[in-house]
Amino acid sequence: MEPIRSIVSRTVVLPQRDVDTDQIIPARYLKVTSKTGLGEGLFADWRYGPDGQPRPDFPLNRPEARGAQVLVAGENFGCGSSREHAPWALHDFGFRAVVSSSIADIFRSNALKNGLVPVVVGGDVHRRLLASPGVEVAIDLETRTLSTAGLVAPFPLDPFARHCLMNGVDELGFLLSQSEAIAAYEEATCAR
């Protein structure tokens, strides 16, 4: 995982609320055994028409979306299935942060493990971002703030998650370093 300290990018806005992971990456793309190349299936059923051609009106297909690293989405983003293919697909497409007023639990946990920063902002800031697609934002992990013209909004990110993102380390290393504590737990509860 590459370390992330800050992200400066234009936004792409997907205003729908309750975007589920079946939309982020439809199930037919889950038959893979690797995690690479899933960007192709990102929002596949919204992005492509029945003829397989990109729909020009879908936000991710607009020319100004090219290179954008920040997706601003409606409330309760990433609900539904636990598929980690969802953050893999978003990351592979080029996104490094998802901004919403709420983000589903499992998606949030999966995003953190893949260099995709879940940014939850208050309702007013969220409405403003939804209303201004393409605006440039700066997301700073050190200060845990999202800034855009005339606005600095804090977002929650626990110190552990932030440390992992900023240093590009994964949680597995931390868990492995705790093997003595785990062994002690197992010994104490060996009746299980």
């Binding site: 370390p3 205003p15 729908q16 609320r17 309750d18 589920d20 079946d22 939309q23 439809p26 199930a27 037919r28 889950l30 038959k31 893979v32 055994t33 690797s34 995690k35 059923d45 029945p50 409606g74 409330e75 309760n76 609900c79 539904g80 299935s81 636990s82 598929r83 980690e84 709420s102 589903a104 639990d105 499992i106 946990s109 999966n110 493990k113 893949n114 626990d158 110190p159 552990f160 440390h163 900023m166 240093n167 590009g168 380390v169 994964d170 949680e171 597995l172 290393g173 931390f174 868990l175 492995l176 370093s177 705790q178 093997s179 504590a181 785990i182 737990y185 197992e186 509860t189 299980r192």
Partner: protein, 489 residues
């Protein structure tokens, strides 16, 4: 001692390290954490049972190989295949036509062999949907922590286990360390008092709960279902309820274990036996929430007032009594909710004000980890016995496991389905997730006993109405959405 909830008791018993302790973060050469208060790591939670399937595990096993790691406790993992396998009746189920799906299944076989994990593959008599086989084998037990790379792991909470879905990275964490990192969720009591009326099932109860709290209403919370209507449910019905906790956004759903739980477990092959059983039951009896234990939030529903429910939109929270009319976006004041409803009705091609009863149906799907256990099949068969599936309606009945299938055949339910004109298929996730070729055609309408009516969930362009097995069977007979109570008289 402080009064604790069921969730708190199971959580506390599995904390290897609390989240408030100072962490020993991996050396990174990067910025050091500043001070103990900043260096707040999540809790390390021990996992008693890890269920594994073919779709969310291959990349996790690859990580083990890349890092030269072993599976810490292969004795605490059980694997099966369910998502991408055919449900074709007869020997056709062994022939996986899709090369990607075949590779995924092969990979699971190789991984389980290499790492020493018990696998119930296609030729095992215990194969089935992962959330069906855990309970029926007796692996799912009260007070356990259970995880799986699948959001419907919440099913196992019906036994008073703490069970939740994880991503593939976490599947790797559990394989390597038998632990996951977790922030302690909050608790939400869902109290349902009263008696469900005839024709109203556990599926209707949970659809009503989700409609009430919303698809994001449980985010950050573990739900505990309490009240007389919940206590009266059988184990299989409790599983249906807990299964869909994730559809309210909840981390997990739980029901306190009681005699119903113990009677079910006593008949399962892997539950403790003899003196061990007595010790286990004594310990399980201490799990229910203490009198006076506090929940962070509570909601109340009147179970006696519930009707058979059906969804009309594109998430499980968009549900109404089957006799209701499609809601009018014009009557919704919140702009985001209005947009969402408009978009859903456009996708579903439904008109505001249209009665749901009478809506044409092309396919009926009875199956999935929500509703494919023997009681579900009995309920559907009760409606279909002596009746015929309406002309032009494709009806699939997919038992949740080989054990369920065998039990159903011993009771003659397969003949009821076949004589009615329904397909009696082999166990698997099938048309709930449409990864295996069982899918809707674009534009088709299905009444499904599954758990998600998201756009394209049952096949690209397909449209899903979620309902109980009774309501699904009634739709199969009528060829339209119907009130099952008409057929139960």
């Amino acid at each position: 001692m402080k009064a604790r909830t069921l969730f708190e008791k199971v959580w506390d018993a599995h904390v290897v390290r609390r989240e408030t302790e100072e962490p020993a973060l991996p050396a990174t050469g990067g910025a050091r954490m500043r001070g103990a208060s900043e260096a707040d790591a999540p809790a390390i939670l021990y996992v008693d049972l890890h269920l594994v399937h073919e779709v969310t595990s291959p990349q996790a096993f690859d990580v083990l190989r890349e890092r030269g790691l072993r599976v810490r406790r292969p004795d605490k993992a059980v694997a099966t295949m369910d998502h991408s396998i055919p449900t074709t009746p007869g020997p056709g189920r062994f022939n996986i036509a899709d090369p990607q799906a075949a590779a995924q299944v092969r990979k699971l076989e190789e991984n389980c062999a290499e790492f020493g994990i018990e696998l119930h593959g296609l030729r095992s008599e215990d194969q089935g949907i992962v959330h069906i086989i855990g309970p029926e084998l007796g692996l799912t037990q009260p007070g356990r922590t259970i995880v799986c790379g699948d959001s419907h792991t919440s099913t196992h909470g019906a036994f008073g286990a703490l069970a939740f879905g994880i991503g593939t990275s976490e599947v790797g964490h559990v394989l390597a360390t038998q632990c996951v990192l977790q922030r302690q969720p909050r608790t939400l009591e869902v109290r349902v008092e009263g008696t469900l009326r005839p024709g109203v099932t556990a599926k209707d109860l949970i659809l009503a709960v989700i409609a009430r709290i919303g698809v994001g209403g449980g985010t950050g919370h573990v739900l505990e279902y309490t009240g007389s209507a919940v206590r009266a449910l059988s184990m299989e019905q409790r599983m249906t309820v807990c299964n869909m906790s994730i559809e309210a956004g909840a981390r997990a759903g739980m029901i306190a274990p009681d005699d119903t739980t113990f009677e079910y477990l006593a008949k399962t092959p892997r539950a403790p036996k003899g003196a061990e059983w007595d010790r286990a039951v004594a310990s399980w009896r201490s799990l229910p929430s203490d009198a006076g234990a506090a929940y962070d939030r509570s909601v109340n529903l009147d179970g006696s007032a519930l009707d058979p429910m059906i969804t009309y939109g594109t998430n499980p929270g968009m549900a109404l009594p089957v006799g209701a009319r499609v809601p009018d976006p014009g009557a919704v004041s919140d702009a985001a909710a209005r947009d969402s409803l408009e978009k859903a009705l456009r996708y579903m091609d439904l008109r505001p004000g249209q009665p749901l009863i009478g809506q044409k149906v092309d396919v009926v799907f009875i199956g999935s980890c929500t509703n494919s256990r023997i009681e579900d099949l009995r309920a559907a068969a009760g409606v279909l016995r002596g009746r015929k599936v309406a002309k032009g309606v494709r009806t699939l009945v997919v038992a949740g496991s080989r054990r369920v299938k065998k039990a159903a055949e011993a009771e003659g339910l397969d003949r009821v389905f076949s004589e009615a004109g329904a397909e009696w298929r082999e166990p698997g996730c099938s048309m709930c997730i449409a990864m295996n070729g069982d899918q809707l055609e674009p534009g088709q309408y299905a009444v499904s006993t599954s758990n998600r009516n998201f756009e394209g969930r049952q096949g690209k362009g397909g449209r899903t109405f979620l309902a109980s097995p009774l309501t699904a069977a009634a739709a199969a007979v009528a060829g339209r959405i119907a009130d099952p109570r008409e057929l139960l008289r």
